[in-house]
Each structure stands twice: as C-alpha cells, then as structure tokens.
Symmetry: C2
C-alpha cells in the first residue's frame, strides 16, 4: 500500500503570487524591462496560478503580461475566462478565439501600449531553454508594430524561476517522495520476461494511484549490463537475465515535476555493472556534498566527473551531470564545465552522474535536492546502494 | 474487463514514410519551398517516426530537414542518436548538447546550405496552430545568416498532415474505441459525493490499464445542469445530485490522439438539461451527416448551428464546433464560418456541438470521425442518446 505522505495544499496563496510578482519586478527593473510578455504554460502558471491541460491544443495563443509596476494582466481566449477568473488575476482581457485574422494580437498590443514606460523594452521568451508559444509570424508583427522594443527576457525569467519558494519546494518534495515509494515497490510488481512497455504501464498506474496528477515523462530501457540511451523507450523488448533496467520519471503534482531515475538488476548482472553502479552511487554522494550555496555548477560537475573518470568512463551522451527542475522536467542551470551558475539557497537541482563504461553500456544515477544554507537536502529517497533485483 | 480491441501495429513502415515524404515534396515544390525545417515533436515524428517523451525537457532543440529531393535529414543532440538510428532515417548529424554557444545552429545552417536550390525558400513552423520549438533568437540568427529566405511553411505542413494515411486512421480509431469503452464503464466505478479529481484519477487509470500510452488531456468539471467551461479542471468539488458531469479526453496510442467528451447525469437532472442534451445529440447527427467530401467546414458548422440556435443557445465560448485531430489534440481545420476548408477523404475530424442555454450552464457533445468517399465513418462509439446516470 502507498506510504502515507503529507499532501501539500494545492495552489498558492495570493500573498505568494504577490511576492513572486514583486521579486520579478525588481529583476525586470534591474535588467531594464518595462514588462515581461509570457506565452508558455509554466510561465503563465507561475504568475497566475492558471492550471489547464488545454495547452495540448495549439490553436489559440494565451498571454500574461507582467508590468514593472502593478499586477499581472491576462490576455486570453474567451474559452479560458471562467477558469482564469478563479485565480488571483483581476485584470482579464479576452477575445473570441480562434480568430485567424487577429488572434489576440491587437488586444495584446493595446495592453502593452497602455503600460507605463521607463526603459522602452519588453522581455519575451526568446532565449535558451524556452520556446515562444505563439506563431512567430504574429510575434514579428507584434514586435514591429510596438512602440517598445522586444528583447530576450529569458535570462530574467530563469533568474526569477530558478530560485524556488518554500511552497514550491514542498510540492516537488511530495512528488519526489511519492515516486520514490513507487520505484521501491516496483520489483514486487514485475518479473523477468515482461516487456519494457508492460513495466512502464504498471509503474505509471501505481504512480497515478499514489496521487500524482500526471506522468509526462517515463522512459524505460533495459540492456545487458547497461543501456545505449536514457531518454527514449519503452519498447516491446522483454527484460532478460543480466539486464540493467533503467527507468526515469518526470511525474507531476499540482504543476511541479520530480525528475529522477532508478536502476534494477534483472537477475544476476555482471561484476562490471555492479562496480560501475557503486562508482555512480559514490559520485552521487560527491555531487550532493558539492551542491552548497556559493559553489558553482562547475564545481558540482567536477566533484562527480573525477569519480566517473576514475571508474573508467568512455563517454556520456547526456552532455551534463544534472540540472535545475521545477515546473519543467529540466530547467537551468546545468552541471557542466563553463555553466558558471553560482548555487544559492532554494534552488532545486538534479544530481545526475552517468557514464558509458563499454560501448552501448551506460548507467546513469539521479537524485533531486533542494539547496539549503547548510547544503543539500535530499527530496528523493536515496537510491539503494545495492542494485534492487528483479526476478 | 476491457473489451478485446485489435491493437494496431506500432510504428509505420519505411514505405509509408517514403510516401509521406514524396507527398510532402510535391506540396513543397508546388508552394515554392526547397525544404521544410521542422522542430516540433509531431512534425519530427511524422517524418522520422522518432518517439520520445524527452520533449518535456526544453534544454535542447532538435531538427528534421525535409529537402525537396531525397530523404529527410536529422540534425539532433547526441543524446538522441541511438534512438534515431532505429528509425528509417539514415542521415543523422549530431552535436554534443547542451552547448549554449552553438546549440546545433552551425550544423543546421551547413545542412540547409548543402541542399540543392531551386526556389531559394525554406518553409518553417512560423504560422497558425504551430509553435517553433527552438529559441527565437537562434531562429532569427539562422534566418539572417542563410543564403535562402525562411518563410511560413505552416500552410504546407498542415496541408500534408491534415489528410491522414489509413495506418494513421487505424491508430486514431483504436484509441477512440479504447476511450469509448472506458467512458462506458465509468458509471460503475464512481458515485455521487466523489470529487472531480477522484473521478479523473479512476478514469485515467482505467484508460492506462486498457492500453493507452498516455492521457495528456482530461479536463473534468461538474455543475448543476451544465458547466461554465470545458477545458480546465478537475477541481476538488464533489459531484452532486442534479449535476451534469462533463469529461473530455485526449488520450494517446503510439503518438495519435482521440479527442472526445462524454456527459453524465448525476442523479436526477433538470428537464432543461435533458432537452439540451437531446438537441446536441441531434446536432451531432447533423454534423456527422454534413461531413462529406466536397462540403466545407462552414457547411458542417451550419448544419449544427441551426439545431443549436433553435434549441435556445445563448452562447458558446469555444468559438467553433469541431476541428481536425491526429498527432495533436486539435489540428486544422475548424468548423466555423469563414474557415472555408474543403473536406476531403481521409481527414479525421471532431464533431463538437455545444451551447450555453442559461448563464454558466453549458453542455458540449463530441465525436470523432474519419471522412470516407461515402461520408463520415464514426471512430468513437456513439454517445448514448439518453444521459448515463451516476448514482
């Protein structure tokens, strides 16, 4: 049976949204923006609390404008007005969508045009690890017709979102604990000879049963002593004696992700696989220990890379050893040389050492942490040092 | 127990991908494009067969280039190479991502630069019902440095994807049938007093158990005699005597969506609700009958709108009465006045009449059809004419 976990209250208080907005406004002003124009689901939700699965429909754009002073404004299709009215947002402007000849564009332009100007610059989701959720032709039309210039606001947006509030961390902690329990229970639910796809179906159902809202990400793959990649699958391949079964999940609770994996020995696996597993377990310990306020992401990378190299890594196609997470499965920063992000309190990070130790044989570990003033606090239940066995 | 449905073979044959490519190339040439540049998950998968849930990570862009002659080229992060190698794509070019200073841009530019030129124009996902999945600043840099111009390729892409292959229709039919069975079984699984959220959890689990891969979309809402909106929820509200319980789902099988709703009477509902339900059932019949090759989406709208108006509609914030579907929950065309799309064989469409008959009381019906030369073929199991009752 599911462990009894304390379920965080869904949603966030108006006071929290006010604090988020005020902090954002200070960052915007320091970076010379009069407003942020937001179109992507996590950014809209971060400032409004608006929750919908209707993002799956690409037909209509939605906009939140966060001005340098005052409260955020929603500029949205009529279909979303009743639900947006339940959030803390008071200024909701709608148009009857879809309206191909003007899908919100004139309403958005007049909204931005009505804002107080200081810097003459608007920040939009134009840069790294972001995608603008509106037609680019409409964006360029908006940009060219506006009195202000529109520039890349993504460094500002990531500065805002990279440091979590305690309520956000509570959400992430809950989904991490829930998924940890499901991972722990998995060996009792599956057996040698089942397909990767069946394994994923069982784990998905168990995670839903335990209280997750959704599981947008659950790659699973098994291979003799390790796997060739860690972001695709499941396939119909049956798990077999000697395999390492790798499963990762980004499941969500109330808009927040966990992102961590677990590895299982299918029957008896090679000594090499056990040795590499132990090295990665140690590398994870080193990464967790290195993630302290004031350290850089480069330092966290170095702490893990040293152990991985000593263990005989021949490669790692992942390109980094962990990253931020929160309302998205992966967020900045990246644990990699040259990233240079200074770690501060209340960042939430993955610690993700991985290595290919023989061609096509990769093993990757992953835990999620929150940074406190005293160092990392584990949000996941630590993976067992010995590989759990599927029989 | 789940009904025994025939499960379609996963994936598509190389011959099918060749036909898709050849048809796309004819459309590209007619529209004056030397290539299509694709970044969004459904477009990448449509031409390559590449399946991943890793799209949840916004860190790395991925590209497929479909040239006017020859086979598609994948330009992707190293992390995706082993899985892309399992598809029919032979020309796979990778870079070690993330690499902020050049995340695939130079490799993409040289790939496009190496193509044969006839029109001097590249089509990209810049227009309606599309979002470019790469940083806009990178896109603008690419555009400005390229020998060819990049223009809006979305009308071409939608022309390609709007008409389905028979194998695609088989996929959609399967997920429609599976979800139909789950909807039908729901009244035996839930009871008055359960929350909208509990109802959704049970239905999600049942749909997974029956064989769906994922349920990215399942809004549910209940209200006395009807609901205020149909795209958000569930909430913690408990379903109560006199409610109409509305549930919609976009669940998927092997990359293809169903998108249809069902309505339930919670205990005894008002005569008005029964009357409007009957009118919408009739409107659905009329919409299905109108969706014949040669008709326009406007005609399908008119056939439904007449019945809805006669039944006393005071509004409908959805803005249309149905749309295309396939690899996305909603795709062009739209059943609305002015859409003007001529319906042809092998389009897959929703028939979605809805009306607000009193303030805050909306009822919406929805079925999915494939267009054959003889008219609509129902892909869903037709909703019961009488509202099923939750007790």
């Amino acid at each position: 049976m599911p462990t009894e976990l304390k379920i965080p209250k869904r949603g966030f208080t108006p006071a929290e949204f006010e604090r988020r907005t005020q902090r954002a406004q200070a960052i915007m002003d320091a970076r010379g923006f009069d407003a942020l124009l937001l179109t992507a689901p996590p950014n809209v939700r971060y400032f409004s609390g608006f929750d919908s699965q209707f993002w799956e429909s690409p037909t209509r754009p939605w906009f939140i404008v966060v001005p340098r002073e005052g409260a955020p404004i929603a500029v949205i299709p009529e279909i979303g007005a009743p639900e947006m009215a339940l959030t803390w947002i008071k200024d909701i402007r709608t148009w009857p969508a879809p309206r191909p000849e003007d899908d919100g564009l004139s309403l958005l332009a007049s909204t931005i045009g009505g804002l107080k100007r200081k810097h003459g610059r608007i920040g939009a989701e134009l840069g790294r690890e972001m995608a603008l959720r509106m037609p680019v032709v409409d964006f360029l039309k908006l940009r060219d017709g506006l009195g202000s210039t529109i520039e890349d606001g993504s460094p500002a947006i990531w500065e805002i979102r990279m440091v979590k509030t305690l309520a956000e961390i509570d959400h992430i902690h809950y989904i991490c604990q829930l998924a940890s329990d499901a991972y722990e229970a998995l060996p009792s639910q599956i057996a040698i000879g089942e397909s990767e796809r069946e394994v994923v179906r069982k784990l998905r159902i168990d995670i839903a049963r335990r209280g997750a809202d959704a599981t947008p990400f659950m790659p699973a793959i098994a291979g003799p002593g390790g796997v060739a990649q860690i972001v695709c699958g499941p396939h119909d391949r049956k798990i077999a004696e000697g395999d390492i079964l790798f499963i990762d999940t980004g499941s969500t609770f109330d808009g927040y992700f966990c992102d961590f994996d677990r590895n299982y020995a299918v029957g008896k696996v090679s000594d090499d696989a056990h040795r590499v597993h132990e090295a990665l377990w140690q590398a994870t310990e080193a990464g967790i220990a290195a993630a302290v306020p004031g350290a850089k992401t480069d330092d966290v990378w170095r702490a893990m890379a040293k152990i991985i190299e000593e263990a005989g890594a021949i490669g790692n196609n992942v390109g980094r050893l962990g990253h931020g997470l929160g309302m998205q499965l992966t967020e900045p920063p990246s644990h990699r040389l040259g990233d240079g992000t200074v770690i501060v309190e209340n960042m939430v990070l993955t610690i993700e050492p991985g290595m290919e130790y023989a061609p096509g044989k990769m093993i990757v570990h992953e835990e999620n942490i929150a940074v406190t003033k005293d160092g990392a606090r584990l949000l996941t239940k630590r993976a067992p040092r010995q590989l759990p066995v599927i029989r």
